[in-house]
């Protein structure tokens, strides 16, 4: 009897958690529903379900947004930046996690400064630097900018993660005469999978969703990221729901797909860590 009750309670509990979780998606659902409605329908009855699967909004958005080019750009930039940030970030984090002295404290302070800096504070000087280096309106330029923007977070993230890894393996490797680089590359780095998976989400999100820097640094439409395409399409005054919602769905959709892929990678990374 007792186990039965317990199972019922457990199923009920899980069902409630699922329901609460799904309720969190209501705004997303709202956004998708709205995207299929004509502007006349929305003006008449702001909350109703779409009367028919009206695709005109999407046709209009796709035609005027330069959408697929934007997706490719965002994807390419994201992947490059993730690799760079993971490498530079974990390298810097390794000594910070393993040594505590005046130098590492200083470095952490500088990194914290980077993390704390609101991006718009640095815009004007960065623009000038980029101009002098000829990086304006180029893929390398935007990749470097996003790498820099993500790096402080990455350093913190890896530092915290590496601190939690036991030192024994590294000490054994050192006894085998491994240098710092070998210890980092062959011992520490392979353990960072779960952290990198999670971090890549942070990076992906920032690159995909930030619009201040691409807006400033990219001027030719064929180099725009998706969010700039969306932003340019929707505008920021007099928002039209029949333009906003399809653009919002289109702007969010590829990332959700990408997210599914990364989600699995995190899960496997975490389980691998747990098994060990």
């Amino acid at each position: 009897m007792r186990p039965m009750i317990r199972r019922v309670v457990s199923i009920f509990g899980q069902a409630s958690v699922v329901v609460v979780t799904l309720a969190m998606l209501a705004p997303v659902f709202y956004m998708i529903m709205m995207s299929f409605r004509t502007s006349a329908e929305i003006a008449e009855e702001p909350l109703a379900m779409p009367q028919a699967l009206y695709l005109g909004n999407y046709a209009n958005a796709l035609e005027n947004m330069n959408y697929w080019q934007g997706v490719l750009n965002s994807l390419g930039i994201t992947l490059t930046v993730t690799v760079l940030v993971a490498l530079l970030g974990s390298m810097a984090a390794y000594p910070l996690a393993r040594r505590t002295n005046r130098f590492t404290r200083g470095v952490i302070l500088i990194v914290a400064l980077g993390l704390a800096t609101p991006p718009f504070v640095t815009i004007t000087p960065i623009y000038v630097i980029f101009r002098n280096l000829g990086l304006l309106d180029s893929y390398p330029g935007i990749v470097i900018a996003f790498t820099a923007l993500n790096l402080p977070l990455a350093v913190f993230f890896y530092t915290s993660f590496i601190s939690a890894i036991p030192k024994e393996l590294e000490e054994a490797a050192r006894l085998d005469n491994c240098g710092d680089w070998q210890v980092y590359w062959y011992i520490v780095r392979p353990l960072l999978g779960p952290a990198t998976a999670t971090l890549s989400l942070f990076v992906t999100l920032m690159v995909w969703n930030d619009f201040t820097y691409p807006l400033l640094l990219l001027s030719s439409p064929e180099k725009f990221t998706v969010m700039i395409s969306v932003y340019r399409f929707v505008g920021n005054l007099n928002i039209q729901p029949d333009m906003l919602f399809p653009a919002a769905v289109l702007g969010s959709a590829p990332l959700l797909v990408l997210f599914m892929i990364f989600q699995r990678r995190i899960v496997s990374g975490v389980t691998a860590g747990a098994v060990k």
């Binding site: 799904l22 709202y30 500088i110 718009f120 630097i129 980092y184 969703n209 729901p241 989600q263």
Partner: protein, 296 residues
Amino acid sequence: MPEAWGRVLQPIRIYLFTVPALLVIGAFFVYPILLSVNLSFTNFTGVGVANYIGWANYERFLSRSRYLNSVGVTIKFTFLVVVFQTLIGLVFAALLHRMPAIRNFCRAVLFTPAMMSFVIVGYVWQFIYAPYTGGLNAFLSAIGLESLARGWLGDPSTALFAIAATHVWMFVGYTTAIFLVGFANIPSDIEEAGRLDGASSWQRFRYLELPLLAPSFTVNIILSTVGTLKTFELPFIMTRGGPDRATNTLSLEIVNNLFGSYKFGFASALSIVMLLIVVAVAIVQNIYLKRREDNQ
């Protein structure tokens, strides 16, 4: 010769790992910040010549109540977000940790809002909070709570909470995911021992898991604090700092001075003030949370 170099470099070689990152951060943050410090003593308009005006910008910051108010709004907003996001994320993670069957699914669902950009989330929630045609008010009257319906973003007593709720909605999935990593890192034999000792689910959470989650708390709280302190996108899109500055955070004040009024010099001074606040908060938190980790 190389060997001799190696011997000299040996003790500091590990620190060279930080050099690439330091170079990038130096060029992108340190140098521009130094430039900002310089500009904060001028009346620079963003173009043309910057004239040195001493401490006038900082004096204005202290003498006009609106700027101190915006510091207050920023702190209140950050406090709300960090507390609720951490608590809700912890609850979800603790529940999901015990429910392996639905864990991955729910984590993915909770994470979904964080996939969207501030711009999109801001606009969508603005439609939801809208007073006459908004989804939230329609929902409230559908379940018989019509008396609670209001212009959520138009009412100074609710606007900041409404934006904070949107912010938490966006990022609670992050917090949950980080806590779940923390839970997964708890050695299973510790949990097993607790179970064998007959500890209830709550007791295991309170006395075994919670202390071991300290590193996750550190990451979560620092990330959300710093992220929230400097955010300006949601209030910028949803309320533009209104009604009557009830949601006018310091970062929004900076953006307005920078791009609305072209007061680059004054905005730089505000930025420096902001940086000092953020860095001070981060350092205090870091010291406190690290000490807490060590004590456990």
